[in-house]
């Protein structure tokens, strides 16, 4: 039995189809990375999976339990750390965690011990007796994730858990997630950092405009792009745009312009490089720079969502981290 089973999930907000026939499964003790541009429907999916939002149609089972029919039982099995650091700013770190333990229906001795363990695991011991409003953004974030872990959830939902964390805290949280998964926890995480998904996720599901457009391993996603990625630079954006059009029209290549750079994906790297340069030279569009490299998850993401072609200002096509 998979830990999470999502079948043809649909949610409308007014006339907008926010989640459109999304289906996927997550095996126990694995990590699913949920990726997508801003407003793609990631958080809506998470809210339905965590019983906070009622699906219009479709079915979600968490460890075999239906999130609508058996919502109360599902809530015993899950932990959620949302996008906002949802802790009580006027309670201390310790009080926040104990409150979660109490409301998570743990025994007193159990949640007290658990609180101390989590405080030390998240490096919050020194701040444990201070109200959370005195915490830095990163500390609040850690407290928020710790709060989701008090009741030892078997399925953990993390909505952008490392947003606003410094690199050290992020690396620590990654290690913690790894160790949770080793211990049998199933994790679903949304993230805007592709590197994070690459490092943590066993599978990556990409949502765009409410629809699931890919569900594969990170390696699979990169392999699907072809063998090689070629980046070409110009000094003027206009030349890059012209070059992309030319390469698409004449050579039938996947070429995307972003700023003054064009990215070409190709199966046969060296032959493509030669053809591309010859054609560009003929049209007096010789690039000023050229790099040949392996595809990254970034490329796969841009390729699938088409975010790069929309010429939006963000360099990665994803939202710019706050």
């Amino acid at each position: 039995m998979p830990a999470i089973e999502v079948r043809r999930l649909v949610k409308h907000f007014g006339a907008v189809r926010a989640v459109d026939e999304v289906s996927f499964e997550v095996p126990e003790a694995s990590v699913l990375g949920l990726l997508g541009p801003n407003g793609a429907g990631k958080t809506t999916v998470i809210r339905m999976l965590t019983t906070l939002l009622r699906p219009d149609s479709g079915q979600v089972r968490i460890l075999g339990l239906d999130v609508v029919q058996q919502a109360a039982q599902v809530r015993r099995l899950i932990g959620l750390a949302g996008q906002a650091a949802a802790v009580d700013a006027n309670l201390t770190g310790r009080e926040n965690l104990r409150l979660m333990g109490r409301l998570g229906q743990l025994r007193r001795a159990d949640f007290r011990a658990r609180t101390e363990d989590l405080l030390s695991a998240f490096d919050l011991v020194d701040a444990a007796s201070r109200p959370a409003r005195t915490y830095s953004g990163g500390m609040r974030r850690r407290l928020d994730v710790a709060a989701a872990l008090v009741s030892r959830p078997r399925v953990l939902f993390l909505d952008e858990p490392t947003t606003g964390l410094d690199l050290a805290s992020r690396t620590e949280l990654w290690a913690l997630i790894h160790s949770l998964v080793e211990g049998g926890t199933t994790v679903v995480l949304t993230t805007q950092y592709l590197e994070e998904a690459d490092r943590l996720a066993d599978r990556i599901a990409i949502i765009d405009d409410g629809r699931l457009i890919a569900n594969d391993t990170p390696a699979g996603l990169k392999a699907a792009l072809g063998g090689t990625v070629i980046d070409l630079d110009w000094t003027v954006d206009e030349h890059a745009t012209q070059a992309a059009e030319l390469l698409g029209a004449c050579l039938g290549l996947q070429a995307r312009a972003r700023g003054s750079t064009v990215t070409v994906t190709a199966r046969d790297g060296s032959a493509t490089v030669i053809a591309v340069l010859r054609r560009l030279d003929e049209h007096r569009l010789a690039p000023t720079g050229l790099r040949v490299r392996e595809p990254s998850l970034d490329d796969a993401f841009l390729h699938l969502t088409g975010a790069g072609s929309s010429a939006a200002g963000t360099s990665a096509g994803l939202q710019v981290p706050a």
Partner: protein
């Protein structure tokens, strides 16, 4: 990694008793949390105390001269204090709205909703905490009232009864304002939205001046609205005189208001969209 190893583990089984007492425990936990916040941010309590305090002093010394001519035979301070008690209950309910709106804004409410807790506990814990705060503010107002000349003429028993009615009224009003806080969802706007509701209720009433001094068109509303009947009941409990009719009218209001607003609040809180 040893710490991480301790962090993971299996789900703890719930003891059978927790299933039975769970909801009570949840309400107690949320009540405790709201009272802790009050203790930790004393200005919340100070502001809700200073305002009625200013009212007592202003009305007692500034308006007493004008108002006492309309109520022959009763010292104005004895007329005033029951009105202040009721006003404390109404303004106190605003804290319910602001507190809940804050929980909506921070996302804490969303987290509570994802927990295996009694779903009624968030609203119940909020209104009960505000009830306890009202006990504190009322006690203080009685002390201040006595210092400026307020006297109980009809024995302590009826007076305590009157105070219980005020607390019940405050609890009732809390449900109206709970709905407001949940709907508006941010503390500043909630405060702004609450005032136009509260001001006419408190001032177009018998809380501070007798209704017969108001224009005729206003008297019908002013005489029968919940603030007035509660104030009249409490006043009768202090000064003596028939209380039964006012008490029944008050209770009828409370039952009616809770019957409408508690389900509305619960629906708004449970609403999953």
């Amino acid at each position: 990694m040893s710490v991480s190893a301790r962090v993971r583990g299996s789900l703890t089984e719930r003891p059978a008793a927790a299933v039975l007492f769970g909801p009570v425990r949840d309400v107690a936990a949320i009540t405790w949390r709201n009272l802790t916040v009050l203790r930790r941010v004393p200005r919340l309590l100070i502001f809700s105390t200073v305002q009625p305090l200013v009212f007592v002093l202003l009305f007692r010394y500034v308006f007493a001269g004008v108002a006492s001519s309309a109520i022959p035979g009763v010292p104005y301070v004895d007329f005033l204090l029951p009105g202040v008690f009721v006003q404390v209950a109404v303004f106190g309910a605003m804290n319910t709205a602001i507190g809940l709106a804050g929980d909506v804004q921070t996302g804490l409410l969303e987290r509570f909703r994802s927990l295996p807790m009694a779903r009624s506990a968030v609203l119940a814990g909020r209104t009960i905490a505000d009830l306890i705060r009202n006990v504190f503010v009322l006690a203080l107002m009685i002390g201040v009232g006595i210092a400026v000349g307020f006297r109980i003429h009809n024995g302590v028993g009826p007076f305590v009864g009157g105070l219980l009615l005020v607390l019940l009224f405050g609890f009732t009003m809390a449900w109206i304002f709970a709905v407001l806080g949940l709907v508006v969802g941010d503390p500043e706007s909630t405060q702004a939205a609450a005032f136009p509701v509260m001001a006419p209720l408190v001032f177009a009433s018998s809380a501070f001046v007798p209704v017969h001094t108001m224009p005729g068109w206003l008297q019908g509303f002013a005489a029968h609205q919940p603030v007035s009947v509660t104030a009249s009941a409490v006043r009768a409990s202090v000064l003596g005189g028939p209380t039964a009719s006012y008490v029944w009218q008050s209770l009828a209001w409370y039952v009616g208001i809770i019957a409408v607003f508690a389900p509305l609040g619960a629906w708004r809180y449970y609403r999953s969209s």
